[in-house]
């Protein structure tokens, strides 16, 4: 299997690579060694600003910097970026549509041992409900780096959902990405597995296993949850007639909900969702939690078979 790199490391690396642009300012809230903005700080200490343990203030300060023409990357854990500072993100960044990129690391249950208080499984729901907010949830280090750079180039607020855990690199180094365009990673005709974040890897593994049972599964990486690539979803609904969504997030309000909104309005087909079943996480090794909360290829396979039963009925 390929190399493993955490998407937060790819985020810090990308920031260091684009940091020659003097317009870029990076904010952190006493977590620079964890969010990996320390990689930017090493090269551009004068444009790395530690705001202390004060996330709400950091977000509105980011907004103020943006009004003066700065491209701001504001980083902390997803729990505190989307959770604690929700009002500041909504009212000071979203509402005035300012050029702030929120680098939200340690999203989801794979935070591991810190437990539920630090495991954001609601952030996609929160962020995608803010008008004009772009929501990006990359699957690996290559797509993270590319999308961080795209986010810096575009104007407007962006939420970048990043992970703590080392995850496999699934894209070739020179792969290209466009914000708002999903990637069809594998063609298939019976069912479509639509995944985001580290669940893309699980969806690919599930598709391989399904092939052995004679089931042809399409796999799509939705790295941009908003604006959502409706076209790729509607096409999948029409051509495969069944969809399973896969995400490291509450099944309420996240990728599954976003896909369902498109499917129901345009071409209803049976759908199943793999995700955290509306419960808080807990402490444990990431691998143990992935099993406990069934964020596994086995679960994706089970749901694919279930949705195929419903498709036949």
């Amino acid at each position: 299997m390929s190399e493993k790199i955490a998407t937060r490391v790819a985020y810090g690396t990308a920031l260091a690579e684009i940091g020659h642009n003097e317009n870029i300012v990076v904010l952190d809230a006493d977590l620079s060694k964890s969010t990996r903005t320390d990689l930017f700080k090493k090269k551009y200490p004068e444009r790395h600003i530690n705001m202390g343990i004060a996330e709400a203030n950091m977000m509105a300060v980011a907004a103020g910097l943006a009004t003066c023409g700065k491209t701001v990357f504001a980083s902390t854990f997803a729990m505190f970026a989307a959770g604690r500072a929700f009002d500041q993100v909504r009212n000071s960044i979203g509402y005035p549509h300012l050029n702030v990129k929120i680098g939200a690391t340690h999203a989801g249950i794979t935070v591991g041992e810190d437990g539920a208080s630090h495991q954001a499984i609601e952030d996609i729901a929160l962020m995608r409900s803010i008008p004009g907010m772009t929501v990006i949830s990359p699957a690996d280090a290559v797509s993270t780096k590319a999308l961080v750079k795209k986010a810096a180039e575009m104007y407007g607020p962006v939420y970048l959902r990043l992970g703590r855990l080392d995850v496999h690199v699934i894209y070739p180094e020179d792969a290209e990405f466009e914000i708002g365009k999903g990637v069809c990673l594998k063609e298939g005709t019976d069912v479509t597995l639509i995944a985001t974040g580290f669940m893309v890897e699980k969806a690919l593994a599930a598709a391989e296993a399904l092939k052995e049972s004679g089931i042809s599964a399409r796999v799509i990486d939705i790295h941009t949850i908003k604006p959502l690539d409706e076209e790729i979803i509607i096409k999948a609904a029409k051509e495969t007639g069944a969809i399973v969504t896969c995400e490291e997030h509450n099944v309420l309000g996240g990728l599954g909900s976003a896909v369902a909104e498109v499917v129901v309005k345009n071409f209803p087909v049976p759908m199943e969702m793999v995700g955290v079943e509306d419960s808080f996480g807990k402490s444990g090794k990431p691998a143990d939690l992935v099993e406990k909360y069934s964020l596994t290829a086995e679960k994706v396979i089970e749901k694919a078979k279930l949705v195929l039963e419903r498709k036949k009925a």
């Binding site: 006493d30 060694k33 343990i53 041992e113």
Partner: protein, 280 residues
């Protein structure tokens, strides 16, 4: 304080420190630094001061403790375990998927935990709520909270401070574990919260500064806080992050990393030697 009582507290605190090392080392993760700096205050509160009963942890008349700096569960759990709320042996399950000892305090899973915390700045507000309830219900229980000095950077801490003084919550005592370190370095370099005592004074609190590792000073401050009328009290506890383990003392790097086996063995040996010297 009676010399025998003090000696017992010192031994208990050393046992609690051993539990901290054991929990963090077996978990392979967790927060030893701030747990060790808080250990003496936790020991004093749970073994000398607070009206609590391990057999009846939800007694509505009990004193309350809120660990606002929730990452210091190794300190809180080791204290609760040694006080009899649950088996000391269970500390070895800390942060594991099969255990109830969550990385951050969970009031529904862990006997003796009065409030779920982990997101800094929120616990002190919950403590204000408990103190307000005490006033509303005419109860005599007291509420203790422990804040980190880095945690003071959260604006919510000062919203809570304002509310506590506004409602004259003299049943509330907040400790600040003043170890001068947070994750990214010295508090004054990351985001200076100084002058801390002056801030609490300006917010209408009474303020007492003590050595966090001296039981006589802890006792005097707690007694003074209990005698205070009409105002909450902040006890600024000058501490050493990593206190009691030579290689962890005053090192920001031990904020949230676990000792390896040999390091844990050395730490436990140092604490055993210290307990020996007290017995001596």
């Amino acid at each position: 304080m009676d010399a025998k009582v003090k000696l017992d507290l010192m031994k208990t605190a050393a046992m609690i420190r051993k539990g901290i090392i054991t929990a963090v080392a077996t978990a392979g993760s967790g927060h030893p630094g701030g747990s060790l700096s808080a250990a003496d205050i936790l020991t004093y509160l749970y073994f000398r001061e607070m009206n609590i009963d391990p057999k009846n942890p939800k007694n509505p008349d009990r004193d309350r403790f809120v660990l606002s700096k929730g990452h210091c569960t190794p300190g809180l759990y080791s204290t609760l375990a040694h006080r009899g709320f649950f088996p000391v042996e269970d500390l070895k399950g800390f942060r594991q998927v099969s255990s109830y000892l969550e990385g951050h305090p969970n009031m529904n899973y862990v006997p003796g935990v009065d409030m779920s915390t982990g997101s800094l700045g929120q616990g002190i507000s919950a403590a204000v709520g408990m103190a307000l309830a005490g006033k509303l219900d005419n109860k005599s229980y007291r509420v203790y909270a422990m804040l980190g000095d880095g945690e003071l950077e959260e604006g919510q801490v000062w919203e809570a401070a304002m509310a506590a003084a506004h409602y004259k919550l003299d049943n509330l005592t907040a400790f600040v574990d003043y170890n001068r370190l947070q994750i990214d370095g010295n508090i004054t370099e990351v985001m200076n919260p100084e002058p801390i005592a002056d801030k609490f004074l300006a917010f209408g609190w009474d303020v007492i500064s003590i050595d966090a590792h001296d039981f006589d000073e802890i006792e005097k401050a707690v007694e003074k806080a209990k005698a205070n009328k009409g105002k909450p009290t902040a006890i600024i506890a000058h501490s050493i992050k990593g206190k009691g383990v030579s290689f962890m003392e005053n090192q920001a790097s031990w904020h949230g990393s676990a000792p390896k086996k040999e390091q844990a063995d050395q730490a436990l040996a140092e604490l055993d030697a210290y307990i020996e010297s007290l017995n001596g």
